[in-house]
Amino acid sequence: MIDPAARGDAPGTGRRFSLVILLLIALGGVVSFFVARARWWLPPGASTQAVEIDRLFITTLIVTGIVFFLVHVLLAVLIWQGGRRTAPAAYWHDNRTLELTYTLAPAAILVTLIAMGAVVWTRVHAAPPPNALLVEVRAEQFGWVFRYPGADGRFGRTDATRFTGRDNPLGIDPADPAGRDDIVTRELHVVSNRPVHVRLRAKDVLHSFFVPQFRVKQDAVPGMTQNLVFQPTRPGTYEIACAELCGVGHYIMRGKVVVESQAAFEAWLAAQRPAAP
């Protein structure tokens, strides 16, 4: 059997390793999060679900952060002592009570996090309230097209064979009267503090509708219409990013969403040309 010293196991390796773990990882990890909070962090939330999701995120972060720190401290202590020990190692390999403890304690923490997460997840998927602003968002390679239902509150039928790049980007079927008052735009405008009901569609491949400040993300699946509901709370202009690889232009699929007052929204909508082909 080998002589540890001859195989390069220098005395002090354990101490050095513990220090690296303690300083670099345990402390560094925690400190870096505080540094990051100042400059690379969650963009300020601008919707009701942002508040709930952020709260869940921070709670999880604190719990996992504490575990991260404590486990690394423990690891550092163990290898510090293990490197110094001259007596034989302890022949100790079972303790049911201990094992049950550290089976049940993580289970309890995780069950709590599951329950908290379930509440938020359910609320995010609540049905759209009656006063929700209905809008269709259609993702394509490589941009976003939006459609408002107009006065009748209904969207006209679309047909893939009727697409034309500029005049009829959604392929609205002229035979459907419900489509006559549909308004097609290249910017998404919504009203502050009013729920938005988005019908999400895709023209060609998978995309994903992601507005970081709203904490909203939903895949746009070709052949399906997804429904999502959110409520913006802060007026302003925000970016839409595509969050599902959709081809070469995935990184330039930037859209724009404007949150404004009801009056400003109506003025803007009135100024848009109806889409009737």
């Binding site: 690379w40 690394h72 034989p88 190692a89 022949y91 089976t103 995780l110 997840w121 990013a241 690889l245």
Partner: protein, 603 residues
């Protein structure tokens, strides 16, 4: 490679049958390891290309344009080539490096040796398993050279992007070759799994009951079960996607698509179905990648801490629980895909549940280190490093497993950070620990410890510096697979983060050169290693280094105890191999509470 032979006139082997088309599991395992190393260099190089772009999008790389004239223009990478690089990096690392090195490499080398068998149950099938791997590599790499280039739909290859040839440049022949390559490799994995499971069930030495098997074998056993049951599903999906592309079917492509101003002539398929089938494999696959390293780490920790592994029954139970649960969590990759929210709730529960056995294992490793007498060999450093990396990566999994949080972090760099910690780091550390630990057994020589230590420190620190900041990029909202973040106001602040990550990544990549040098130099002129340099208990250390053909000489070993009798009180040395009868070295009765009762029963 010096394979010693006893008086052996039964069959003379040519160079071809001894080293190339070998049916000896040890040779096959080493073949897998070296081929995986080659692919790791390719995959790692692709990662450097990614970091060049993300860290320095405006820089000019003249040498890269010279190497890849089709992929670079104006000395800068093109978006379609960038996506091809991203796709191939992921594919190569997951399937062609980690799976092959762990299951193919360590699985093959260790299983017969550690259970006391002469070889696998089906040596010919084993040889076939390896020899499907190089053709799969050739088919995969060929995609770089065909019109349209390598696929650019990500390693996840979601249709319709991957199904419609003109949806992306790489969705032409490149994507077809990718699918064929995976199909070939999956068959290789299936042959391997059949062999491993059968061998472990049937060929254990006398006295090697299941509960006396080393944890490495338990890990490899369940890994083989996972592979056997989950890879066929990806195979089915790949066949159907091939038919969608080439046969005009519509398994995954719905009606009414318009790509590039042409209406696509498909109808009735479901893109979501591909995701379900892919992740039904994809999730167990990541456990295929972490269970063997967990086993290896258990082995290395016990050996170099001179202490029994703590909680062996719970360790085995945890491996079983992780394996079972891994089949019912796949939906957590699809929380925002359009699944019903209730389904999301179910997957959240199972996903967070799978954290429990992982936590149990982690605490058991920590308990193994308590009151241990640690030898900080390079293998041990990597095993301890694994614990740190697994904890970090596992904890971020808790964020991702909660669908409400996942709404925000899905498809951002937070996910990239998470899986690089558990796969690229933890699983990789398992491979490194296993290499440094078993290199003497494989080749009869030691690797250089000094170089090993340099490799460890640069890699361990390099990994944290590279991947930890990715969490922040993700929290700030940086999406995955983006060629550039310059367009987005909310991402402008990230350019410094990306530069930092890229520089750390270059350092990390360079550090691996030390390992590669060490590996090859030690093969040729490493210090000779004895039969049992680490004073270890498992069966492979009770035979020569390297083992002879047939592994154990004339008599197969007989096993009398579990593998973790290190530092038994009253024993003549601090290790007691599995072949030592209990009467010779009795053990304390109640799992080592320190009482001085001796037990001469065999456990």
């Amino acid at each position: 490679m010096a394979v010693t032979h006893e008086a052996h006139t039964e069959h003379r082997q040519s160079f071809l049958t001894r080293y190339i088309f070998s049916q000896d599991h040890k040779i096959i395992g080493i073949q897998y390891l070296f081929t995986s190393l080659f692919m790791a260099i390719v995959g790692g190089f692709l990662a450097m290309l990614i970091r060049m772009q993300l860290g320095f999008p405006t820089a000019k790389f003249y040498w890269a344009q010279w190497l890849f004239p089709g992929g670079f223009t104006n000395n800068q990478i093109k978006p379609d080539f960038y996506l091809a690089v991203v796709t191939m990096h992921g594919t190569i690392m997951v399937f062609f490096v980690l799976t092959t090195a762990l299951s193919g490499g360590f699985g093959n080398f260790l299983i017969p040796l550690q259970i006391g068998a002469r070889d696998m149950a089906f040596p010919f099938l084993n040889m076939m398993s390896y020899w499907l791997y190089p053709p799969a590599i050739v088919v995969l790499m060929a995609s770089f050279f065909v019109s349209g280039g390598a696929p650019n739909a990500g390693w996840t290859s979601y249709p319709p992007l991957s199904a419609i040839p003109n949806a992306a440049p790489g969705s032409g022949l490149g994507q077809t070759l990718w699918l064929i390559s995976l199909a070939i490799l999956i068959i290789a994995f299936l042959f391997g799994s059949l062999n491993y499971i059968t061998t472990i069930l049937q060929l254990r030495a006398r006295g090697m009951s299941l509960l006396r098997m080393p944890l490495t074998i338990w890990g490899l056993f369940f890994t083989a079960v996972l592979m056997l049951l989950s890879f066929p599903v990806l195979f089915a999906a790949a066949i159907m996607l091939l038919f969608d592309r080439l046969g005009g079917t519509s398994f995954f492509v719905p009606a009414g698509l318009v790509v590039g101003n042409t209406v696509v002539q498909h109808s009735g398929g479901s893109p979501l179905l591909w995701q379900h089938l892919f992740w039904f494999l994809g999730h167990p696959e990541v456990y295929v990648l972490i269970l063997p390293p967990m086993g290896i780490v258990s082995e290395v920790l016990a050996t170099h801490a001179r202490k029994p592994i703590f909680g062996y029954p719970f360790m085995v139970g945890s491996i079983a629980a992780i394996s079972f649960l891994s089949f019912i969590v796949w939906g957590h990759h699809m929380f925002v895909s359009g699944m019903h929210p209730l389904v999301g709730m179910a997957f959240m529960t199972t996903t967070l549940a799978i954290a429990i056995p992982s936590a149990v294992k982690t605490f058991n490793w920590l308990a193994t280190l308590w009151r241990a007498r640690i030898r900080f060999t390079t293998a041990m450093l990597f095993a301890i490093g694994f614990i740190s990396l697994f904890v970090t990566g596992g904890l971020t999994g808790i964020f991702l497993g909660s669908p409400a949080i996942d709404i925000y972090v899905h498809d951002t760099f937070f996910v990239v950070a998470h899986f690089h910690f558990v796969m690229a780091s933890a699983a990789l550390f398992g491979i490194f620990a296993g290499t440094y630990h078993w290199f003497p057994k494989m080749f009869g020589r030691f690797m250089n410890e000094r170089q090993g230590k340099w490799h460890f420190w640069l890699t361990f620190i390099g990994i944290y510096l590279t991947f930890f900041p990715m969490h922040f990029a993700g929290i700030a909202g940086m999406m995955r697979r983006v060629f550039s973040v310059s367009l987005y106001a909310h991402l402008q602040a990230l350019s410094w983060v990306n530069i930092f990550i890229s520089l750390a990544a270059f350092l990390l990549g360079a550090a691996q050169l030390i390992f590669i040098w060490n590996l090859f130099a030690s093969l040729v002129r490493g210090e000779r290693a004895p039969q049992n340099p680490w004073g270890a208990n498992t069966l492979e250390w009770q035979t020569s280094s390297p083992p002879p053909h047939g592994n154990f000489g004339h008599e197969l070993p007989v096993v009398h105890r579990w593998p973790y009798d290190y530092s038994v009180p009253g024993a003549p040395s601090d290790f007691t191999p599995q072949t030592v009868p209990v009467s010779a070295v009795p053990v304390p009765v109640h799992g080592g509470s320190g009482e001085d009762e001796r037990d001469s029963r065999e456990r």
